[in-house]
């Protein structure tokens, strides 16, 4: 289904972290939409039964407070998600180790509150940075790692070594 320009004020659930999660949500929602539409066509007299959905879709439905049995709600949510797929800003953040889901969630909360409410994050792994993170936006690169911090304070370390040697 093509994205719709008339977007309703929906929001992304916290479980949708990366564009991959968003694509998975879109595919599942479109499949649900197809199933329910087929059920309505096949059994117009009966109310369609909701299939078992993933936690991702459940959370999206809960956050946006839609009724999944209603085709219009599903259509609008799919259009919103397609719009997010096309336009949502994406931050690439690399850590020295794989972050836990709780850590990712806290980080995402902060980003969606402080930076952009629709921001998506792709997580990378760079063990050489020691601690901290490296953030890359569309045009900029922010090295917030401990390695960069130590390199910037290299002169201080050098002077300390010289003093110790003297």
């Amino acid at each position: 289904m093509a994205p719709n320009d008339t977007l309703v004020a929906y929001s992304l659930p916290l479980s949708v972290v990366s564009p991959v999660d968003l694509g998975r949500l879109i595919r599942e929602l479109e499949a649900l939409d197809n199933d329910l539409n087929q059920a309505v066509i096949s059994f117009p007299d009966n109310e369609p039964k909701m299939p078992i959905t993933s936690r991702l879709l459940d959370e999206a439905i809960a956050v946006n407070k839609i009724v999944p049995q209603l085709a219009e709600d599903r259509k609008q949510l799919i259009a919103y998600l397609w719009g997010m797929k096309a336009k949502a800003p994406v931050l690439h953040i690399s850590f020295s180790a794989d972050p836990s889901p709780l850590f990712t969630q806290k980080l995402l909360v902060w980003l969606r509150q402080e930076v952009n409410k629709d921001v998506l994050v792709t997580i990378g792994l760079q063990p050489s940075i020691g601690a901290g993170c490296i953030v890359r936006t569309n045009n900029k690169f922010f090295d917030l790692s401990l390695r960069k911090d130590m390199l910037s304070k290299r002169g201080l370390l050098l002077s300390e070594i010289s003093e110790a040697r003297a």
Partner: protein, 207 residues
Amino acid sequence: MTIWWLYLILGLLGAVGTAFVWLIIKINGQGVAPKKNAPGTIEEAADQDVEHIFNEEFREELRNRGRLHFEKIIGENAMFLQQDLRLTTSQLNEYMKTEITSKLKEEFAKYEESIMDAKQLAIESIQKTNAAIDEQRAILGDQVKGEILAEKQQLVARFEENMTDIVNHYVLAAIGNQIDLNDQLEYILADLEANKKAMIEDISSGA
């Protein structure tokens, strides 16, 4: 009168001259005649006597005596000459020996002197060379010391720079795995907060 006297004197002179010529011719005619040895003269008899007294045997005897006497004189002279020659030879040997010895001594003295001069020159040259070598060694030593010092300082500086990298690497390797990401969250959020404005501007630009 006078002319008559003159004729008279000239006539007298002519007569005297003619008489002189005649006299000379006469004298010459008498001197040539005795040279002719005609047989039977006294000279011829004397010659015959001489031939009789000094005949061939007597002459041979005289020759033998002369030859013996000559040989004797020759032998004596040869002996004297030999003695003189030996004496002269010995003297010559002595002279040559003395001369050669003196010359050799003189030459050896000159040779020794020249060797001493050469030795002195060589010693002076060696001393100068040693002095120059010492000087060059001192200069080279100073240069080497300076270069070693500069190299040492450069190595120390490079070592210290590398030391910072080593320390950083060590700290990152030692601490990196020990710090939990959850513990870093506050630090990360603080850094993100510090760069929030730049991120928002970049996201808002939409490029």
